[in-house]
Amino acid sequence: MAESDRNMVFLDGSRLIIEAMARAGAGAYIGYPITPVNWLFDGAKSRIPVTLEAPDEITALQWSAGFSATGTFPVTASAFPGFALMIESLNMSFMMELPMVVILAQRLGPSTGSATTGAQGDLLLLRGCISGGYPLPVLCPSNMMDCWNMAAAAVKTAINLRTPVILLTSKEMIMTNQNMDISGLPEVPLVKRELYDRKDLYKPYSVNGNMVPDFLPAGNENHQVRFNASTHDATGATQKNSVEALGNTARLKNKMEDRLEEYTFYDHDDGDGETVILTYGISAEAARDAIRSIRSSGEKVSLLVMKTMLPVPPRIFDILDRYQNILIVEENLSGLLRELLFGQQKNDRIHRINKIGNMITPGEIIEGVEQCKQPY
């Protein structure tokens, strides 16, 4: 690119996320000011048509649900302490099939932990936070460009699948300033909702071939709309456990899995060799530096950065099967990604780098790759 075409600025991931979501169609941002999502709120205030400060996180999710049910796409953000309060309402929105994005910025726990210290500690919470283990789409940016692309993809996925989507990030990703040439940012088109436009009776949870019911906002003048957080049939009427209602509930799982290919994102840098570094989020940047260093010394190593964390895309396992050693890098002590993919059983192929309190360094990853070569 010619020098004159460049537009180099100094910016942060928070603003990239908000701008991309605004372009994709976010019409409301509802926030409770918890650290480290402060800059998201600041960005939203001057960009998103409606930006509201909620008195607590239950309210934030309930207001989001209200906006979504009436046709405005909402975004909210929190860290674990606030996200914990959101979970009941998140289940409600999941069951009602209300599109929205919840940005979860991870910070050091347990509990309130350290508000200004980053972490990667909430992955398994997301895996289980919908009662019944139903899959909630979780996208995770691994660098500044991803802040843009995954934010846009989160809005698109939420609308197309009529579901809440989590954008999983961390303090270090959204509160660090970096130089970036923004002339290279891809266009983010507005995601258009297909509204039910026929005259015959509208059934709010009746689906056509794509597993997702047609949407109509509450308050429209043509058809009665019902949203329901309890087990319900195609009309939205509460039913205890009829075949139709249970089928509708099962569809909530199936639609996420059947259309997973639409929102499967990862970076696979295949450098041959026996070892692959598997990581996500903020640890991916340290892994990229580690790869650069290892390869400059003539060693072979590969990198797989997951961006669609949940549901786990089957292709992730296909890729991992090609390698003898898998080195899983994540900023927690328990090995959440390791447990998500491989359970808790001992497995000689799998190696881990875990840490809390600071980001995992490229040096620690290089050392980890070295140790993968040692005999068991």
Partner: protein, 419 residues
């Protein structure tokens, strides 16, 4: 004839339940007000009141226990077309669970109506008492629970409700219903009933049971209406930084600037990072400070590099600029044997092999000491041209003062540039 909001589905309530009467009153009031059912959005709670959805011809949203009021607020704010009627329906249990939401709804004064059907018990779970169960109601079976009930009408009024009133099942309350459903702003109607399954068996007059009588309160307030305004692209808010000079730096350079809150440490970090971009380098900057940002340490971490930067952490910095004791205490454990320390002389650091100690506070004052130290270091090291720092400073709202500090610290006369 206009359709009523109630359809002909059989109500699922126990015989003698007040909910049946309340629903009929609501339907009659809406019909008399001439409201089209499809202009109504009913938000129902959990509990017996939440069984209402199938009985209604309007839009229905059946949510969580205690959250009907707050969800209805979201619906109100989401509706762009005027003329809609948002009605939240909950019981005394839901109102107790979501009391904060009820007060918030009154305070915000959105155009909605909250109906609290107070039958004194959690009827679906065995008749437990709620915060709205009156002392008279509790006395026969729970004399030990003498805690009075909430007067939610008074609470809503004090929180700012445009209209709040208490009605008793059995009397003619249609006018109260109509006022609650037509007054602009937040309206609360508490309907006192008796649960036939768990209520006292012989109640001659509900007024004798309730802790409070009929109350009608009004606040003269204009309903809160949301403004929607699309802001300009955030990308436009970032100034383009053109490369205007070169820097000799060919490796990664990690710098920590440490001081106290209020000493413009973060601004100094931003200046260094943007100066590096002006000189064609990549840079990152992050801040670290206590939650109470007005006191204690303030630390900025800046990385400069010829290559693109991925990992943005610093373990052992190449350079540390330290201008206060708060800063020193925060970062001293990260000083490496080869770290160059640029420190204010008053800190008394002496035993480091690679130390530059000067009275930077004298050069720049408390808010300019870090910048003075940075400028002094850049002049001596030549890692970045001073012009790059001056150009970065001149973009700042206090650019003239910053350039003056740079001049003083480096002994170079430059022309002051301001935005």
């Amino acid at each position: 004839m206009q359709a009523t909001i109630l359809n002909d589905v059989k109500a699922p309530y126990c015989p003698g339940c007040g909910h049946t009467v309340a629903n009929r009153n609501m339907s009659k009031a809406l019909a008399e007000l001439g409201v089209d059912p499809l202009d109504v959005i009913a938000v129902s709670d959990i509990g017996c009141t939440g069984l209402v959805d199938p009985l209604l011809n309007c839009h229905t949203i059946h949510g969580l226990h205690g959250r009907a009021a707050v969800l209805a607020m979201g619906i109100c704010m989401g509706l762009e077309k005027p003329g809609k009627k948002v009605i939240a329906l909950q019981g005394d249990g839901g109102a107790t669970i979501g009391l904060q939401h009820l007060l918030e709804a009154a305070r915000h004064n959105l155009d909605m109506t909250l109906v609290v059907q107070n039958n004194m018990v959690y009827g679906m779970t065995g008749g437990q008492v709620s915060g709205l169960s009156s002392t008279n109601f509790k006395k026969p079976t729970m004399p030990e629970d003498a805690v009075p009930s909430y007067d939610i009408c008074a609470l809503a009024h004090s929180a700012g409700a445009a209209f709040s009133a208490r009605a008793f099942i059995g009397g003619d309350s249609i006018d109260l219903w109509k006022e609650a459903l037509s007054t602009p702003g937040f309206c609360l109607l508490e309907v006192v009933e008796m649960c036939p399954a768990y209520g006292m068996k012989k109640v001659k007059d509900l007024h004798d049971v309730s802790d409070y009588g009929v109350e009608i309160s009004r606040n003269e307030r204009t309903p809160n209406i949301l403004n929607r305004e699309v802001g300009p692209s955030l990308l436009e808010s970032f100034k383009t930084i053109d490369k205007t000079c070169d820097a000799p730096l060919d490796t990664r350079m990690e710098v920590i600037i440490a001081g106290s809150a209020g000493e413009a440490i973060q601004s100094a970090g931003d200046l260094l990072a943007t100066a590096a971009i002006t000189a064609g380098l990549s840079s990152t900057k992050k801040g670290d400070y206590p939650i109470t940002i007005g006191t204690g340490f303030s630390v900025a971490e800046v990385i400069l590099s010829r290559e693109s930067i991925h990992y943005t952490g610093i373990e052992t910095p190449d350079v540390m600029i330290i201008i206060s004791l708060d800063g020193l205490n925060k970062v001293k454990d990260r000083i490496g044997p080869h770290t160059l320390i640029i420190a204010d002389s008053k800190l008394g650091i002496e035993d480091h092999p690679n130390l530059v100690s000067m009275d930077f506070r004298k050069m720049g004052g408390a808010r300019g000491a870090a910048l003075a130290a940075m400028a002094s270091w850049l002049k001596d090291s030549g890692l970045l041209p001073l012009d790059a720092l001056i150009e970065a400073a001149s973009r700042h709202k206090h650019g003239d003062k910053m350039v003056a500090i740079i001049d003083k610290a480096t002994g170079v006369e430059t022309t002051t540039v301001t935005n």
